[in-house]
């Protein structure tokens, strides 16, 4: 069956243009992209999707999510996480290795790949751990993991403390063509901390995590990238200092890329007041000055990617005393409106914003997707950029609802997600069809 997506504003992130277009999809691939009005499809079997007044974008790619399977299926499964992804407009996600057991060997990687195929929603790309059991002692088998389907390595949740081991990991990952994603945290500085160390932690009496805890490791991993010539990708950048370090490294020709998450450009440490554990995340929400610096980093291109760090937790981990609660918040179903608000306020152009959600993460991970061109698999999202609504705790398709954005007025929502030409999500009531 063929599909005609008619009259939407097509966003081409790579070329940076936006024009009203018709897209014809045949056998799962984009067969033709035409200016609106040229195509006069008469074939009754042609499925028509009216996208007028909507944005049509390449399927979004979230290079940093936690799907919790295997091991913590009560928080999220590959099925529920992939569902949350497609609801949010994401057609591909890269899942972090801190499952139980961690993704440190072929069998776990293969399990994730197989489960994701069975589920048949978002494309799921496993990220394997750098060391066995994330213990920071022995490297995992990068080659074997790559063959099994891993696209990158990361110790997410920790830094590899041993700098020599990290150096060897970079050298070896480069040989196998695996992306290296660095969680930057000096635990000796952050241990025991529950929020950003600053005026709010002083006011409300919570132990703090200084910005330096992140920045020290950002600096180290940049230094190792320079030493080894291996590109590194810095995960969840949250501080002004980190943005500055990455900017300098880029100017200096070091092969470094970076991501931030919507909460780091939307919320600051004041969100913790009242001891709301939904605002407990690692790295912690920082100061308003850091939020501004992260936005500036996005705007200047210092930060290449927006990833959600979708981290589902159940009330067992969250409905606790603040210092005992787990770090992390879900993000797949709230990212899009938060990013669109960056566009509305002028921080990012629309193509630029979607670049950070499509072709940039695709390039860093070396995966397909991230663009809409004739001949490629039709992964795309149709977005109503203007619809206003609020999320309630029952609106999530994720198995968890640990979001600090519940009750916030959002503007902009994904209405339809297509993967390989197949509609996997549709907000049906809003899409009259012919």
């Amino acid at each position: 069956m063929s599909t005609w997506i008619r009259g939407g504003e097509l966003v081409d992130p790579e070329k940076g243009i936006l024009e009203q277009s018709d897209i014809i999809i045949e056998r799962g691939r984009v067969s033709r992209i035409l200016p609106h009005g040229v195509f006069k499809g008469q074939d009754a079997r042609l499925k028509v999707i009216d996208a007028s007044g909507r944005l049509v974008v390449p399927g979004l790619i979230d290079m940093h999510v936690h799907l919790r399977e295997p091991g913590e299926e009560y928080k999220e499964t590959i099925a529920t996480g992939a569902m949350a992804a497609v609801v949010g407009g994401f057609t591909s996600v890269a899942c972090m290795p801190n499952t139980n057991p961690p993704n440190d060997c072929r069998s776990v990687t293969e399990f994730i790949v197989r489960r994701a195929e069975e589920v048949g929603l978002a494309r799921v790309y496993p990220i394997a751990s750098i060391t066995m059991e994330q213990q920071g002692k022995v490297l995992t088998e990068f080659g074997d993991l790559k063959e099994a389907g891993a696209v990158g390595i990361s110790e997410d949740g920790y830094s590899v403390v041993d700098s020599e081991l990290m150096r060897r990991a970079l050298e070896y990952a480069n040989y196998h063509g695996l992306a290296v994603i660095c969680h930057c945290e000096d635990r000796s500085l952050s241990e025991g901390g529950a929020m950003h160390e600053g005026v709010v932690s002083t006011r409300i009496g919570l132990p703090g995590i200084p910005a330096a805890s992140e920045e020290i490791m950002v600096f180290r991993d940049i230094a190792l990238a320079r030493l080894t010539g291996t590109p590194v990708h810095i995960a969840h950048v949250s501080t002004r200092g980190s943005v500055n370090l990455i900017r300098m490294a880029k100017e200096d020709g070091v092969s470094v890329t970076a991501e931030t998450a919507p909460h780091y450009f939307t919320l600051d440490h004041n969100a913790v007041i009242g001891y709301d554990t939904r605002a407990k995340v690692n790295p912690p929400l920082r100061t308003p000055g850091d939020v501004e610096a992260v936005k500036q980093g996005l705007s200047e291109g210092v930060i290449d990617v927006i990833a959600t760090d979708h981290a589902p937790h159940s009330p067992i981990e969250k409905n606790l005393e603040f210092d005992r609660a787990a770090f992390g918040m879900i993000g797949l179903e709230t990212a899009l409106p938060l990013i669109l608000s960056l566009v509305r306020e002028g921080t990012l152009g629309i193509a630029e914003a979607f670049r950070k959600l499509t072709c940039n993460p695709a390039r860093i991970l070396g995966i397909h997707g991230g663009s809409l061109k004739e001949g490629i698999p039709a992964d795309l999202a149709v977005i109503d950029a203007n619809i206003e609504y609020t999320m309630t705790e029952n609106d999530f398709h994720s198995k968890s609802n640990n979001s600090p954005f519940i009750g916030r007025l959002f503007r902009g929502r994904n209405e339809l997600t297509m993967i390989g030409g197949k509609i996997v999500w549709e907000k049906s009531s809003t899409h009259p069809r012919r």
Binding site: T202, R203, G205, L206, Y275, L320, E321, F322, D323, R324
Partner: protein, 337 residues
């Protein structure tokens, strides 16, 4: 009101008290006492005035009035405490409330029950008030959201210890006649002290001028935002002060890299006679206890004429009686006979 009460004896106190109480309790419009941050200067005045009226009960032969008869108070201490717990117990008993004490070791926490589940179970037994001490910042706030009984924070993590601050304010007002305009130095581990945070919030709210001092490792970032001066060296910090408040140096913090050792601390930050002499002649020295003699304070200062440390303990009972009364005293009328 207070004069009437002070001059009255025996049951009369209670009758006068009863007549006043409707309006008092109406004025104090809080379900819980979670921190000094939630109180206005008027609230604090009301608590201190009420405590002053109730203090007389502790000096009578029969140290008991029936005000809270039929009310139940649960003392829930997840962390060890002698002074605060005893003070609350005595305060509740002097007002005729029934009290139950739970500690972490006797509670279901050791069986893995969460605070919220424990709270719901306690709530099911309909207590009127829960006094909570807990090692986690915000634990009383979590409890208060979960249950309809009143909650008093008896110390949460490194955050607040509001009843300590109120008894400190009471003691200062008793000794100095006022709080506003006084110069107060707080010396010690400000960063890890819930007493310091509550005292700072209370003192600044009541118009005192607060200076904090101590090793830089013990001064939290941006503490100036709370409206205090930072003068790290105690020699300069105590100059011209009306009140010196010391904090207990937690010896276990030594292993947490906060300071090199007791000897070093005592030498550079301990309060000795020479240091006291740099303050005003009329200075009072306070300490929330338990004191480490020879560490933050040398023994002859702790026992000397400036010291009001034991007054603080005595006033603690009165202040806690006042809070119990203001929080749960007015909710139903008490049968006088």
């Amino acid at each position: 009101m207070k004069n009437l009460l002070v001059t009255a004896v025996g049951k009369e106190i209670f009758f006068v008290w009863e007549r006043e109480k409707e309006s008092l309790v109406a004025e104090f419009n809080h379900k819980d006492l979670l921190g000094m941050g939630q109180l206005s200067a008027q609230d604090i005045d009301l608590i201190l005035d009420t405590a002053k009226s109730l203090k007389v009960i502790s000096s009578r032969d029969i140290k008991k009035v029936p005000t809270l008869r039929g009310k139940s108070v649960v003392h829930f201490f997840y962390e060890p405490s002698t002074r605060t717990r005893t003070s609350f117990e005595i305060a509740a008993k002097r007002l005729s409330a029934d009290t139950v004490s739970l500690s972490a070791s006797s509670s279901s926490m050791v069986k893995g029950e969460t605070l919220i589940d424990t709270a719901r179970n306690l709530q099911a037994m309909s207590p009127d008030l829960i006094v909570l001490r807990h090692s986690s910042t915000g634990a009383p706030h979590l409890l208060a959201k979960e249950i309809s009984a009143s909650v008093i924070n008896a110390g949460d993590g490194i955050n607040e210890h509001p009843t300590q601050a109120l008894l400190d304010l009471f003691t200062i007002r008793e000794r100095k006649g006022r709080i506003s305009g006084l110069k107060v130095a707080i010396i010690g581990d400000i960063a890890h002290s819930r007493v310091a945070r509550s005292d700072i919030l209370g003192l600044t709210k009541m118009g005192a001028e607060v200076t904090v001092a101590g090793p830089p490792t013990m001064i939290p970032v941006e503490i100036e935002a709370l409206g205090v001066n930072v003068i790290q060296n105690p020699r300069d910090a105590v100059r011209g002060k009306d009140v010196i408040m010391l904090l207990r140096i937690q010896l276990e913090r030594q292993s947490a890299k906060i300071f090199p050792g007791i000897r070093e601390y005592a030498r550079f930050f301990g309060l000795d006679r020479q240091l006291v002499s740099r303050a005003k002649k009329s200075v009072i020295v306070m300490h929330p206890g338990p004191i480490n003699r020879g560490v933050e304070i040398i023994p002859d200062v702790a026992d000397g004429p400036y010291s009001v440390i034991l007054d603080q303990v005595a006033n603690g009972v009165a202040v806690r009686m006042a809070l119990l009364y203001l929080l749960i005293g007015g909710k139903q009328s008490v049968d006088l006979d």
